[in-house]
Each structure stands twice: as C-alpha cells, then as structure tokens.
C-alpha cells in the first residue's frame, strides 16, 4: 500500500509543479496584456494541435530526452554534471566530421558517426570527472567552464579549418552530410526522425539498468550514501569516471542525433541557441532523476517550447512566456525536494 501511495505522490508532485508553472505563465501573459485562455489554447495547438505539430514536438524532445538521461545518471551517482552543452556540441562536431570524411558504406558511416559522438562527449565529460577524482577540482564548476571551451573550440573548427566554402551562405558550418547517411524520417514530410526511437529505447534501457543490474545498484548507492558505498567496496574514483563517461556519452549522442537527423551538418550555434542542454537538465530535475520520468518531462518541456512558438505566431504574447513557466517549474521542484526532506526529518524525530 505504501508503494502505491508513493507512486501516486510521485505523479502528483510534477502535476502540481505544472499547475504552478502555468499559473505563473498566466500572470506573465496577463502582464503583457494577452488573454490567458486564448493564449494557452494557441500554445496547446502549437504543441499538439495536429499530427504535424505533435511530431514536431517529439523531434524537439529527442535531444532533450537524451541529455536528461545523461544528467539523471550522473545525478543518481551524486554528481552534478552541468557540462551537457559542451559534451553535446563536441559529440555533434565529431559526428559531423565522421559522417563527412570516413570512407565506407553509408550504414557504417552512420553507426561510426553515432559512436564517435558518444565517445567524444563521454571523454569530455570524463575529463571533468578525472579532474575531480584526481585533483579534487569541483565538478560543478569545471563542467560549467568546459562548456564555454567546447563551444568556442567547435566554433573555431567550423569557422576556419572545416568551414563550408562550397555554398554561397557565409555561415560557420561544415559541409552538408551526404543524404545516404541521414537518419531516416519516421513519417513522410514530418520532422520526426529515427533518433526519437533511439532516445526512447535509451530511456527504457537506462531504467532497466539502474533498477536491475549490479552496476546500477552501485551507482544508486554511491549517490544515496557515499560513505556506505565506499564501505561496501565501491571505488568512488572509478565509478565517477564511468558514470561521467556514460553521462557525457548520452549528451554526445544527443548532439550526433541532432546532426544526423535534423541539421545534416554542424552549424555553429544551432545546438546551443535552443538551449537543449539546459532543458535536459530541467527535465531531470523535474522528474527527480527517474529515467522514464525524465523522458516524459522532456516531452513536456519540448511541448512548452514548440507551443510557445505557435503562440507567438498567432498572438501578441512573446515566446519567452515559455521560459518563465519552465523556470518556475524548476523552482517549484527544488521546493519539492524540500517537501520530502521535511517528511524525512519528521519521520526521524
């Protein structure tokens, strides 16, 4: 019975957060002088109004899901990985380079590009983990700072050595990847691509991994109680490198899927401007690091964003209302953690 109550509560909390977020959004809409109901109706239409918009939302959710999963894994192990943006960018860049320059059949290029993305994102993330494990440098700060270095480095690569000089557009981008290497679209004429399936499978696999495998248990133990974990023989340094590599690998995969499924090239700023990485972190916080919950939260956040775009097309209300709703959601989530903390304290005394 206890299990059922806690299950219902775990559903109730995010729902409550959504309601509070929407209420804050309503205030913001009223401030700029829009009609709340009408605006939200437009928002709904923009996100789920037609099959086209729905698939659009799902394709926007794809990188957010993957990044959220990576961050969730690190959170579960007790590490704050704030470096998803840099990991995603490096993953995207190496995927683009692999797909462009690796010789061989198309399927091999595709697989190699995905793997290259995972590896480079993972190494960049594990580097921060290594700095922490070896030199005790604060992971939260190093991952944040490495973001700037990674995006600037990728920006340099596509502005100078690998810049696309064939087309007339003077943009900082690589050449277009050959059509045979693209991730297939799921429906004709829609933006949704095979990457979404990969993300969905990853969410389920991570859920099973965390719940039913020994390594998953060790990771949860390390996050839940580091002292107990080390007493039980879990090596913190090694686990840190492993979980940070996996965490960055997810972010790198997110970047490479964006490149192979949507952009078809690495375009400077195309991944950082929509704020995929930060949405991913928000999704994780919203779902309390639960893999499946993270996926659902990611779709919700993506819906807020695509809905916001639809709203801006059809009303006077600016798109940024979405970012207010998202921020309030997250703030409410930190209160949610508080709520469980108070409960725990009560139970103890």
């Amino acid at each position: 019975m206890d299990k059922r109550v806690s299950f219902i509560r775990s559903l109730l909390q995010p729902l409550l957060a959504v309601i509070v977020g929407l209420a804050a959004g309503a205030v913001a809409i009223a401030v700029v002088g829009g009609s709340v109901l009408e605006t939200y109706a437009e928002m709904w239409k923009g996100a789920f109004g037609s099959f086209y918009f729905f698939t659009n939302t799902l394709s926007r959710a794809t990188p957010i899901i993957l990044i959220g999963l990576g961050v969730a894994l690190a959170f579960r192990a007790g590490f704050f990985n704030m470096g998803s943006e840099g990991q995603m960018v490096l993953g995207a860049l190496s995927a683009a380079i692999t797909a462009l320059y690796l010789p061989g059949p198309a399927w091999l290029k595709l697989v190699a590009a995905l793997v290259a993305g995972i590896i480079s994102g993972g190494i960049w993330s594990a580097f921060a983990g290594w700095l922490d494990a070896k030199y005790r440098m604060n992971l939260l700060i190093t991952t944040l700072l490495l973001n700037y270095i990674a995006t600037l480095f990728a920006g340099y690569i596509v502005s100078y050595p690998l810049k696309d000089r064939t087309g007339s557009a003077a943009m900082a981008q690589t050449m277009m990847i050959d059509k045979s290497v693209w991730l297939p679209k799921l429906f004709k004429g829609m933006s949704l691509h095979g990457g979404f399936l990969i993300a969905a499978v990853c969410a389920i696999l991570l859920f099973l991994f965390m719940r039913y495998t020994l390594k998953g248990y060790e990771i949860r133990m390390l996050g839940g109680n580091p002292l107990f974990a080390s007493y039980g023989g879990v090596q913190r340094g090694k686990m840190m490198l492993l979980s940070m590599f996996a965490s960055g690998g997810f972010a790198g995969l997110a970047g490479s899927i964006e490149v192979l499924g949507t952009q078809y090239r690495y375009l400077d700023g195309a991944l950082t401007t929509p704020g995929y990485a930060w949405s991913g972190i928000m999704a994780t916080l919203l779902a309390g690091s639960h893999p499946l919950g993270t996926a659902v939260a990611a779709i919700l956040l993506a819906a807020l964003q695509t809905g916001g775009m639809g709203m801006e097309r059809n009303t006077e209300v600016p798109l940024e209302v979405s970012s207010i709703i998202q921020a309030v959601l997250i703030l409410f989530v930190s209160a949610k953690i508080t709520y469980s903390f108070i409960k725990r304290r009560k139970a103890r005394s």
Binding site: L146, S159, G224, L285, A327, A335
Partner: protein, 307 residues
C-alpha cells in the same frame, strides 16, 4: 609586447574585475556561513537588467543602481528562504535561480523594451567616471587608477571593510562561527539563521552592484545572458581566495586581467575563439594550481550528497 601590455590594458582590467570581484565577495560571505551560492550568476544578471530598467524609467544613475540592488536583494531573499528556511539543496536552488533569472530577464526584455537579444539606447547615461585628484597626475599610475566608475572604487573599499568586519569585529567572528559549526554556534546563543540571512542579503546587494557595473559601467546596454559565466568565474574566485576578502580580491584580479587580455588580443591576428576561451582555460588551470580544501568541507557541510 609593448603594444599589448600598455596602460589601457591595466585600466580595463580594473573595470572588468569589478563585477567579478563584487559577486565573488558576495559568494565568499555565503560560503563563510556555509551556503555554497551557485546562484551568483543569476543574481548578477538580475542586477544588470534591473539597472538598465531603472535607468530607462528614472533617467537617474543613482536610482538605477539602487533599483538594481533592490531587485537582486529580492532574489537573494528567495534564495535564502529556499535554502535556509525550507532547507532545500542549495545547489539545486542556485541552479533554479539561474534559470529563473535568465527566463525573467529575457521575458522582461520583450515585455518592457519590446526587443529581442539586446537593448541599447544611446540616450541612457552610464555610471560617471571619477577622476581622482592628485592620483590622476601621477604619470603611469594615474592613467590606470583614475577615471573609473564610482563602483570600481567602492568595490576596493568593500574589500577592506569586509576584511576588517570578518576578522576584527565580534559580529564577524559570530558569522565565521555560524559557518564553521552551526550547532556549536547555536549552543552559544548565536542566532545562526539570522546571520545566514544577513550574509545572503548582503550577497544580494553586492551582486546588484556587480550587475550595475556590468550593464552601466563601460557600455550602457543589456544583452540576454550578458553575464556569460562571470558568476561562475566569481565562484571560482571565491574558492581560490579561500573566502578571504583579500584573497578573493587577488584571484578576481587574475580573472579580470584575463578578461581584459582576451578582449585586447582580439585586435591581433589571433582567431577570436581562442582569445575568448582564455579566461575559462586560465580559470580551470588556476583551480588546478591553487587547491583549496576549505570550500569542499563547506559544500559538504551544507549538503552531504552534493558531491
């Protein structure tokens, strides 16, 4: 080399160091009471934006700065309430605060000024430049030290005052005690929560000033996310300086110098990407060389499972 290290480089160092220094001092105060404030970035961003808003509506620089302080103060109250009163995870609250600051400022930029990305108005008056009498007549030194905004000089004053406050006054010692061991401090009758709130509020004031210097100091404009990681660099400065005002000032100077150098190097033939990378690379390198275990204990104390 002479071209690179000239007077204006050092003068701009002093200008650029101020936002980092003020925010870092705020962070140091929070760290001293056992709160690891990741929300510095958001607080500074709020300060920068509200300074522009205040300037736009009142046309008065002083009231703009006061408005910036007020808004950052409100946000720091939120931070304090969540992390002290509700005992939420300080790091999560800090991150949430950064999100909220970014979302609110971009939204308000659209709602108030009806622009996207950046707001610039050439009629706005920035902070005045003060020429210090006597000092400005000294040949080299005068050019470096004179002609800055009042906030630059204020920040230097704050460093000294804070150093004296923390290590020479009774209240300062109580503050240190509250951070060092909250339970022991409480048993001596020190009002730990009140001291923590005081530190957080002071941090809000300092971050408001930092934001005002950022948006009204050298350029009178606001761009989305214009802090671009300075809050986090300030956090590193806090750690490197071991939350000691003088130490924080020294490490902030290093980062400010790197900031100035990176802007200066853009005039040379180097790709801007690498020059922009410089402050972040140096920050990471500095973390490697100046290891500080103190902040880790503080972070641990504040939140057992944060790391």
């Amino acid at each position: 080399m002479d071209q690179l290290f000239d007077v204006s480089l050092f003068a701009s160092t002093l200008r650029l160091v101020t936002p980092i220094l003020l925010a870092a001092l705020g962070g140091a105060l929070c760290a001293r009471v056992g709160l690891f404030n990741v929300g510095l970035e958001g607080l500074v961003l709020i300060g920068a934006f509200s300074a522009i808003v205040g300037n736009h509506f009142t046309g008065n620089v002083l009231s703009a700065v006061l408005f910036a302080i007020l808004c950052s103060l409100l946000f720091s109250v939120l931070f304090g309430y969540m992390s002290i009163h509700l005992r939420a995870n300080v790091i999560v609250v800090g991150i949430a605060l950064n999100f909220l600051a970014l979302g609110l400022t971009t939204f308000s930029l659209r709602a108030i000024f009806d622009v996207k990305g950046a707001y610039y108005n050439k009629d706005m008056v920035g902070l005045p430049k003060w020429d210090i009498p006597l000092l400005k007549d000294i040949p080299w030194l005068g050019d470096v030290l004179s002609g800055h905004s009042p906030l630059v000089y204020l920040s230097i004053l704050i460093v000294i005052l804070l150093q004296l406050f923390l290590f020479k006054t009774v209240t300062g010692f109580r503050l240190l005690a509250a951070g060092e061991n909250a339970t022991a401090a409480k048993s001596l009758g020190i009002k730990v929560t009140r001291i923590q709130y005081g530190a957080v509020l002071m941090c809000g004031v300092l971050c408001g000033l930092a934001g005002a210097q950022l948006s009204l100091g050298n350029v009178t404009m606001f761009t989305e996310g214009m802090t671009s990681g300075r809050g986090f660099i300030a956090l590193v400065a806090t750690m490197l300086g071991q939350s000691n005002p003088l130490g924080v000032a020294a490490s902030s100077l290093l980062f400010g110098f790197m900031d100035a150098l990176s802007i200066r190097l853009q005039g040379f033939a180097l790709p801007t990407h690498f020059t922009m990378m410089l402050p972040y690379v140096v920050t990471i390198a500095a973390m490697l060389f100046f290891k500080d275990k103190g902040y880790m204990q503080e972070a641990r104390k504040a939140n057992e499972s944060s790391r």
